[in-house]
């Protein structure tokens, strides 16, 4: 049986039941789902949540919504079939490793495609039937927060990308695209006066979805990347609108087919973005919906954007891959922490074999996404522990010789601190020890003593549990 969202949910129930919550009580897609997630966040709880009874835009109850999937890296590890406890460097490295072994998709018939169980075309394709989520107070309208797939020119393959899509009317959405691959395809078509066919994928196995945040090189077919992450071929089926000219994932939950119209710009936004701020309203392109297909009892997959449910691990894995390309075997870990919105900061741990390698690592990392702060640390520092990274900056870094500032680098349009629309200033901190001169040792207790002295031999477990957790 092919991997899909349902197989993932079954696995989650079995392996990480504490991280999965089902809510049967009716809830409105307008702010109530995100309000509940904020309540959980306030309590430092980040489960995946399946809402069983959600109101659609048209007020109809009984829709299902699954969200917050990537808010905990253990669930991402599970999606790749790893032990959930291997959520640090093992997970990053696994993404990078799989990206080196792309898997060709296969095409199946409509009868074999669950996403074709219900087919609505023309006037019957009404976005109001869907539980599209209203996330934040100043959002322009309900938003889709998942993958938009396009076909790159000259049949070089498909692109999967996270794009916000704003509900505008029963058959139109707005779309915001940063100047990457989808934007390139769209503008190439627009120059010729042609519409750009798109399919919006709301729901699939999270390993498929994560292909949309992986920063593949332009020539790669991202259906092959999704297959690599899934560990099996993605099953594709002809779309309703373009047939075999645009293949869509057969095992998706919901597919919205449409065209980005050439030469049309209408207001889109504001929208609460992954940066944690509202992106401003802009004159942006418009998608004309042509068809909606879905499973009979579909589950609408949502990303709780602007919070921990931002799958920045796609960028992190590509940084790992590119740094590993230039420093083979030296990378110990790469982490894009939530403090940097999983995209602005990158911490890279390397085995420093000579001076100059940290700058090589930082240069490779600079080519992925929008890192503004790149910190390279030694291999005795855990990049997934920010206290360790800051310790390294505190004790191994001097700004007059270890700080590099690079101006006018491509930045994110969603970074509110940028002084120009598309460029920012990037900072590289070399927080590694010098290898050509003596450097003090970190304090440590002898290993033999650590092995001999067991906590429970001296302090009862209950007493240990009573001691407050100190996090600073």
């Amino acid at each position: 049986m092919a991997s899909d969202l349902r197989s993932y949910i079954s696995q989650l129930e079995e392996v990480l039941p504490q991280q999965y919550v089902v809510i049967e009580k009716e809830i409105d897609s307008r702010f109530e789902i995100t309000a509940l997630l904020r309540r959980l966040e306030k309590a430092d709880k980040f489960p995946s949540v399946l809402f069983e009874n959600v109101k659609a835009i048209n007020g109809q109850s009984g829709k299902r919504v699954f969200t917050n999937v990537t808010a905990d890296r253990r669930r991402i590890a599970l999606a790749l079939g790893l032990d959930p406890d291997k959520w640090r460097s093992e997970l990053t490295a696994e993404f990078a490793r799989r990206a080196e072994k792309l898997i060709e998709p296969v095409t199946v018939s409509r009868a074999e495609a669950p996403v074709k169980q219900v087919v609505k075309v023309g006037a019957g394709a009404d976005l109001q039937d869907l539980p599209i989520i209203y996330h934040h107070e100043m959002d322009g309208n309900p938003y889709g927060t998942l993958l938009v797939l396009t076909k790159k020119p000259e049949n070089i393959g498909y692109n999967l990308a996270y794009h916000r899509t704003m509900y505008k009317s029963p058959q139109q959405t707005g779309i915001h695209m940063s100047p990457f691959h989808s934007w390139k395809t769209f503008t190439d078509n627009e120059k010729k006066g042609l519409p750009t066919p798109v399919a919006i994928v709301h729901g699939h196995h999270p390993a498929f979805i994560l292909a949309g945040v992986f920063m593949s090189p332009w020539p790669w077919d991202e259906y092959k990347v999704a297959g690599a992450f899934l560990g099996e071929p993605v099953r594709l089926v002809p779309s309703e609108t373009w047939g075999e000219d645009l293949l869509v994932p057969a095992d998706a939950e919901v597919i919205i087919e449409g065209e980005i119209l050439p030469g049309v710009r209408e207001p889109e936004g504001p929208f609460g973005e992954w940066s944690g701020y509202y992106g401003p309203q802009r004159q942006n392109p418009v998608i004309q919906v042509k068809a909606i297909t879905h499973r009979q009892d579909y589950i609408w997959y949502d990303t709780d954007i602007g919070h921990l449910d931002h799958p920045g691990i796609g960028w992190e894995a590509e940084i790992y891959r590119r740094v590993n390309d230039v420093l083979p075997g030296s990378v110990r870990g790469v982490f894009c922490p939530y403090s940097g919105r999983e995209g602005f900061h990158a911490y890279i741990s390397i085995e420093k074999l000579s001076e100059g390698l940290p700058a090589i690592a930082a240069s490779a990392a600079q080519t992925v996404g929008y890192p503004k702060l790149i910190v390279v640390v030694d291999d005795d520092i855990d990049p997934y522990d920010e206290r360790e990274v800051l310790f390294s900056i505190a004790t191994r870094f001097q700004a007059d010789k270890d700080l590099t500032v690079l101006k006018n680098v491509r930045g994110s349009m969603l970074d509110p601190s940028m002084s120009r629309l598309t460029t920012h200033t990037s900072t590289f901190i070399d927080a590694t020890k010098p290898i050509d001169e003596p450097f003090p040792l970190r304090v440590q207790v002898p290993q033999a003593a650590l092995e001999k002295v067991k906590l429970e031999d001296y302090i009862p477990r209950e007493r240990v549990d009573e001691i407050p957790y100190t996090s600073y």
């Binding site: 100043m138 959002d139 322009g140 309208n141 209408e266 207001p267 936004g269 504001p270 509202y278 401003p280 309203q281 802009r282 004159q283 349009m413 970074d415 509110p416 601190s417 940028m418 002084s419 629309l421």
Partner: protein, 47 residues
């Protein structure tokens, strides 16, 4: 700062922001609160 400008909806008084470099063309904007489409020349305030 990213270049934004605050607009105030003439109908509901709701404030929202838009990308500032796109102003000056009397384009339509869209109030996220009352859903009215409003021309730039109709807005009460641009900050």
């Amino acid at each position: 700062m990213v270049q934004i400008a605050w607009l105030r909806c003439p109908d509901c008084d709701g404030k929202f922001y838009v990308e500032k470099p796109q102003l000056g063309k009397d384009a339509n904007w869209f109030c996220p609160f009352c859903k009215r489409t409003v021309k730039e020349s109709e807005v009460n305030e641009i900050v």
